[in-house]
């Protein structure tokens, strides 16, 4: 990251003071937080849960739009290009949470961040985000996360393998490379059903004109069919084995890439975005039983209860997938589980557990 040492020191010096003020103010507002009162004046004046206000919704294509969000207190603006955020939107009284890659460049001076969303045919929330959000709407945010990032400086030769709205984290990376003027030999292989639906196509063309080392291979899958990595990659990118690769798109594409790179013994060079939290702490694993359907699945200690349920084909509720929103909370009838964020264990029968950040320690039964 480009944070200079001077910046680090000023921030470090500022944060404890800020914390002291907050702690003192909390003496007045206990058991609530000062933010609970300040947010009555301005909804963005709360760092208790990260919040943001929708400033603009800019259409990118017929079915995709860029949301410009002004984050409230507590947002640090120091995300890395390629990371994603959680966004919680209230629809009919209920918060619905999803994760989206940031498309904006990490910089403090802008005071806004952007995500670019495509309205999925079956996704009522993405549709609401693209078409139903009024400027001024207050949304909840979850801090940037994800390991899908570029090192600085980037590898001399890179390949970006993207499809559909998978372009968004890569766009953030390309914009960052452009801003720092460190554009390497970069090839973007970008699939989209049609030209009209290709998000950021104009900006990509402009970037190519500005940086000749950046080339974009467009593939319109409605006419040309899907890119078959095993056969087509050699044609569009003969030197893919020499490139550091970042891939983002639908799961089948990522699975195929993973297979191809593994077969070539190059899995270290491949970076994938699957929107999952990097959780520390290992539980022991065990057999998870889903009481209503009677389904069972055996998992290791790194697999969350949510992932286990999805593997077993149980319709698990989920939201932010990073332990914030409680949408995924289920009742654990019996068993012992570990919170992968902090290693805390829970074993009370009939305890409510957040499935997205917990894993089994032995056999577990969930009431779903």
């Amino acid at each position: 990251m480009a944070t200079t040492e001077a910046q680090e020191t000023t921030r470090a010096a500022r944060i404890p003071d800020w914390q002291t003020v907050r702690d003192m103010a909390a003496r007045l507002t206990t058991p609530l937080h000062p933010d609970d009162y300040l947010s009555l004046i301005n909804p963005l004046w709360s760092a208790r849960e990260l919040r943001g206000r929708i400033e603009r919704v800019t259409p990118e294509t017929d079915d995709a739009a860029t949301l410009v969000i002004k984050p409230g207190w507590g947002w640090s603006f120091d995300h890395e290009a390629g990371q994603y955020i959680g966004i919680g939107v209230e629809v009919d009284g209920r918060y619905h949470w999803r994760s989206y890659s940031l498309s904006s460049v990490p910089r403090r001076d802008k005071r806004t961040i952007t995500i670019t969303v495509r309205a999925m045919p079956e996704g009522f929330l993405s549709d609401h985000l693209v078409r139903g959000l009024e400027p001024g709407t207050i949304v909840r945010l979850a801090a940037p996360a994800g390991e899908f990032t570029l090192p600085d400086p980037p590898p001399a030769k890179t390949l970006f393998l993207v499809a559909g709205s998978g372009i968004t984290p890569v766009m953030s990376m390309l914009r960052t490379l452009d801003r720092r003027d460190t554009m390497p030999d970069a090839l973007v292989v970008y699939s989209s059903p049609t030209e009209d639906r290709m998000i950021f196509r104009d900006e990509l063309r402009e970037l190519h004109e500005k940086h000749p080392t950046l080339t974009v291979v467009q593939r319109f899958t409605d006419e040309e069919g899907m890119l078959d990595l095993a056969t087509d990659l050699e044609k569009v990118c003969p030197d893919w084995r020499e490139r550091g690769t970042w891939a983002c798109g639908p799961a089948p594409m990522l699975d195929a890439a993973e297979e191809l790179w593994a077969a070539a013994g190059l899995d270290k060079q491949l970076h994938l975005e699957r929107f999952s939290l990097e959780l520390g702490g290992d539980a022991e694993g065990g057999t998870i039983t889903f009481a209503n359907s009677g389904k069972r699945v055996e998992v290791d200690g790194a697999t969350t209860l949510l992932e286990a349920g999805e593997q077993a084909g149980v319709g698990m509720p989920y939201g932010c997938r990073i332990g914030i929103c409680h949408t995924c909370t289920l009742t654990m009838a019996s068993g012992r589980i570990k919170d992968l964020r902090n290693g805390e264990e829970h074993q009370e029968p009939n305890e409510a557990v957040q499935t997205c950040i917990t894993a089994a320690c032995g056999d577990v039964t969930l009431n779903i």
Binding site: R27, L28, Y37, E49, G93, H326, T329, N350
Partner: protein, 396 residues
């Protein structure tokens, strides 16, 4: 007389009880399906009003040396505390608003403006009281370990002081509640796990320090020359909240008509029988919409006990249906104006200060005095029901 079988008492057949259970399940289903924007707006609006009121009260009290400011400030603060404890805190901690997926209004992390830590409340209330409602020897809320509230509870000379204990409990309600989950009796008899006791005491200590410092140190100091009058006003606000919440809570299960049960009732109790016990063991009171909001909608105690985790703003409409069910199945539905209900409570407190043979009762004399030497531990209780609200034990 305590009831050992709800079916037998209500003269309902097993099929009728199960049918009643299905009808109540259908009411729950209907409310769950229709929860939406209007309900979310209700709780958000109420929280906003409560916080504004609290802030206005605190600011007004900076001028507490002037009588109008003193009383206006104390009243605003008192009402804010009542709203927070009753309609907001109690109901949020039951999980009534968890469906909104809003981490700021969620049973797992709500902490309320009273001395008892939320976690201990969720154990003693959501689990022990709501699941074992009015079962002698199981529900520690029958008299809160301080008062003798059922004729089946064995009389002891110490009960003669009940009128005094009752008055003290009303005045110091928040402190009484804060010790409720500790089980002082077990501590005295050295039956309590010392590790668990230390953990609970640490939690209480931390909460009490912060609550006490806020009302009796920090705000008085901020009032400068008005420190003493601000302290008095804050004490008055706490007193208002204590007496009011005591009154409402005592009208939930102690008026005439709210029945007690023996532990035989718990054996193989079905969900429908649990419903029936909740209906027989709870008492409503009537009043205006404002009264219901100020009392956390606990005037719909019967509906609250049937559906502890459904949003409180819907209890009024649920009550219409529950009442109709009660008429159809010929089940008593206890209700009356607040003053009448509390009058009955007061009478019972005074009557039961004396041994049974010195006072009259509408029902026949209970066969034998009920007296368990101690509270039950969680391990000795039947497994937990899910609809009464969660209880998550934190390690800290």
């Amino acid at each position: 007389m305590a009831i050992s079988d709800v079916k037998e008492y209500t003269h309902l057949s097993e099929e009728q009880v199960e049918e009643l259970g299905r009808e109540l399940d259908a009411i729950r289903e209907e409310i769950e399906q229709s929860r939406g924007a209007a309900d979310a707006a209700y709780i958000n609006r109420l929280i906003t009003i409560q916080r504004r009121l609290a802030a206005a009260g605190r600011v007004t009290l900076f001028a507490s040396r002037y009588k109008p400011a003193f009383f206006a400030g104390a009243t605003m603060l008192g009402i804010a505390k009542i709203l927070e404890n009753m309609e907001i805190g109690h109901n949020v901690m039951h999980g009534q608003w968890d469906w909104m997926n809003d981490p700021e209004i969620h049973s797992s992390n709500w902490e309320w403006d009273t001395a008892q830590p939320a976690e201990q409340w969720k154990h003693s209330h959501n689990y022990v009281h709501h699941q074992f409602t009015n079962v002698l020897g199981h529900d520690n809320d029958i008299g809160y370990g301080v008062l003798r509230m059922a004729r089946e509870q064995k009389w002891h000379p110490v009960n003669i002081g009940q009128p005094v204990y009752n008055a003290l409990l009303a005045l110091l309600f928040q402190w009484g509640v804060s010790l409720h989950d500790l089980d002082l009796e077990a501590i005295r008899k050295r039956r309590k796990d010392p590790k668990e006791m230390k953990r609970q005491l640490r939690q209480i200590g931390r909460k009490v320090r912060r609550q006490f410092a806020k009302d009796y140190v920090v705000y008085p100091l901020l009032s400068g020359p008005n420190a003493i009058s601000t302290m008095k006003a804050n004490a008055l606000a706490n007193l208002m909240r204590n007496v009011w919440s005591y009154t409402i809570i005592f009208c939930g299960h102690f008026p005439d008509g709210a029945l007690h049960f023996t532990e035989e009732e718990l054996e193989d109790e079905t969900r429908a029988e649990w419903y029936l016990r909740q209906m027989l063991g709870s008492a409503n009171f009537t009043g205006s919409k404002l009264l219901h909001i100020m009392s956390g909608n606990l005037g719909f105690q019967i509906e609250h006990h049937l559906f502890p985790d459904l949003p409180s703003n819907r209890y009024a409409e649920i009550a219409v249906k529950v009442r109709e069910l009660c008429e159809r199945y010929d089940i008593p539905y206890t209700t009356g104006p607040l003053h009448k209900q509390y009058g009955q409570v007061l009478r019972t407190i005074h009557k039961l200060a004396l041994p049974n043979k010195m006072t009259s009762d509408d029902g026949p004399e209970p066969p034998s005095g009920f007296h368990r030497q101690r509270r039950l531990t969680d391990e000795e209780r039947p497994v937990r029901r899910l609809e009464t609200g969660t209880y998550i034990r934190r390690s800290a």
